[in-house]
């Protein structure tokens, strides 16, 4: 049985993005879920499955289920993991619906990542991971440091310059300026980017995502049922997970290619959609360099060509492949990957307002491409209607010649 087009995202919801929400992660989760259910036109009493991911920083899924009044929880997923698992959560919900285990599953990520649990901050307890013992004694413990280590190797291999990362931050800031939801809406230019302080070389302040108190939720149900609900359905065309190795690789000597490179062909085959058919991409961007890395590893741009792709404006609205149209984790807010799913859905509904990608029919949305958490996941979503693509083959990446546009 294939998952392709059997399920849909029927609703999306957000809380406010804040530096201090003032409420519990349980309340954040319920508010986002309530917003997503309202969007879908579904009553809370119709929800029979729950799915979330967390790293010891948010409310248990079962408590959210209880608060929703679910008496017979047909599907329950409470996954340990960070951004690499964000898209797996939605994929699992889709599998539960496609196999008949549940009819309507709510997925969410709720975190007070600024006021309660700062990923990049000091003084937090070490995460529950056996490998941290080899890092902590050296003062090497947080995501900006771990990704700086990877960024250096990638920049060296691709001969990438600081300006190449700066263009990612600036392009996403320009997108965020068009979104009322985004936390960072003041203009950013290259001088300001280059002048921003070092966090962990080669990453500067503006290479790092925001720390945000927020929750995002999506409602997954069958494509058939979604067609009777309030919003145009956005089909889950394909889903894939990957990875396995971590920073301590035991099997991957080259850190400049991520787990996404192995996942991507399976993802495109699952969806029956190739990289050239992607109209808009929401790529996990805890740090700037992850965006060009994924453009390469998802076969969207040739290796070594991402700098020119950005310099030519191809990743901006109006370009060949607009990337992170909401501003991403860098400028919209950090909701650990699920806000990328929500933006992909919004684009495919044609409801993104000033930041709408004209005619967007297919979106790629991705979680963290492996490394630190060890896993990777991604989705291809598409607008409902007749399949626009039928190749089923992963086609060649875009090169300098562009995508034929």
């Amino acid at each position: 049985m294939m998952l392709r087009d059997r399920t849909a995202v029927a609703g999306v919801g957000w809380t406010e993005y804040a530096k201090n929400s003032g409420v519990s992660t349980l309340t954040l989760a319920l508010r986002a879920i309530g917003s997503a259910l309202d969007d879908a036109g579904i009553r809370h009493s119709d929800v029979d499955g729950v799915a979330c991911h967390r790293v010891g920083d948010s409310v248990q899924a079962v408590l959210v289920a209880q608060a929703l009044g679910i008496k017979d929880l047909r599907y329950h997923l409470d996954m340990f993991g960070g951004g690499g698992t964000s898209h797996q959560v939605v994929a699992h919900a889709a599998m539960a619906v496609a196999t008949g285990m549940a009819e309507t599953v709510v997925c969410w990520r709720a975190v007070n990542a600024r006021s309660e649990f700062r990923m990049g901050g000091t003084g937090r307890a070490a995460p529950d991971a056996l490998e941290f013992q080899y890092q902590l004694p050296y003062g090497y413990a947080t995501p900006p440091q771990q990704y700086a280590m990877l960024a250096r190797a990638w920049m060296h291999a691709r001969d990438a310059k600081p300006e190449d990362l700066g263009r990612v931050a600036i392009a996403q800031r320009e997108h965020a300026r068009l979104s009322p939801r985004a936390m960072m809406r003041t203009p950013l230019d290259m001088d300001a980017y280059l002048a921003s302080r070092w966090i962990a070389e080669p990453l500067r302040l503006y290479d790092c995502c925001l720390e945000t108190d927020a929750a995002v939720a999506v409602v997954v149900t069958s494509a058939e049922r979604a067609r009777d609900l309030a919003q145009p359905p956005v089909l889950i065309a394909g889903a894939a997970t990957g990875g396995g190795h971590t920073l301590f690789s035991n099997g991957r000597a080259d850190a400049t290619v991520s787990a996404a490179a192995e996942l991507a062909p399976r993802l495109y085959a699952a969806a029956g959609i190739g990289p050239r058919e992607v109209d808009v991409a929401q790529l996990y961007d805890a740090f700037t360099f992850l965006v060009p890395l994924q453009l390469e590893d998802y076969g969207l741009v040739e290796r070594g060509e991402t700098g020119g792709f950005y310099a030519d404006g191809h990743a901006s609205l109006g370009g060949l492949l607009p990337v992170n149209t909401h501003g991403g984790h860098l400028s919209e807010g950090y909701v650990h990957g699920l806000n990328h799913v929500a933006e992909a859905v919004t684009q495919l509904r044609g409801a993104a307002g000033a930041r709408q990608v004209a005619g967007a029919e297919v979106a790629l949305t991705t979680g963290q491409p492996g490394y630190v958490g060890g896993t990777c996941s991604a989705l291809i979503l598409r607008r409902d209607g007749d399949p626009v693509h039928s190749s089923g083959q992963a086609t060649a990446p875009m090169g300098n010649e562009g995508n034929g546009a």
């Binding site: 902590l136 050296y138 003062g139 070389e201 080669p202 991957r252």
Partner: protein, 138 residues
Amino acid sequence: MSVHPSMDRDSTEWWASLAAHALIFQRCSECQTWRWPARAMCHACGAFAWRWQPASGRGEVASWIVNHHVFLPGVPAPYVVLNVRMAEQPDLVLPGAFEGPYDDPRLVIGAQVEAGFADCPGDPPAALLRWRIIQSIA
């Protein structure tokens, strides 16, 4: 300049060896693949038979970072953390501190380094890796 390491039941011997200023890794008794961190099974062939084996202590800089922020109390900035690819096997990569200034021009990807050891106060006795450059390509 450091924080005393915590250990688990698989890693105790590795840390004890480091405390005695010797760098060792597990090596599969069947296929001879090196591995680190300590695990019960060989990821290459699936065998459970293994031994600790002394390593050359030499490798090359796979990457490095300069930390400009106090990420951990007790570790003042700026400071360097290296990722070193061991000479024994390309996927044997481990972090450590750097013996040298944070802006050392010899510090480049591919520079040859050798393991040194810095004793770390606390109980049980412990030491941390501190890599020194033996040949730069800069």
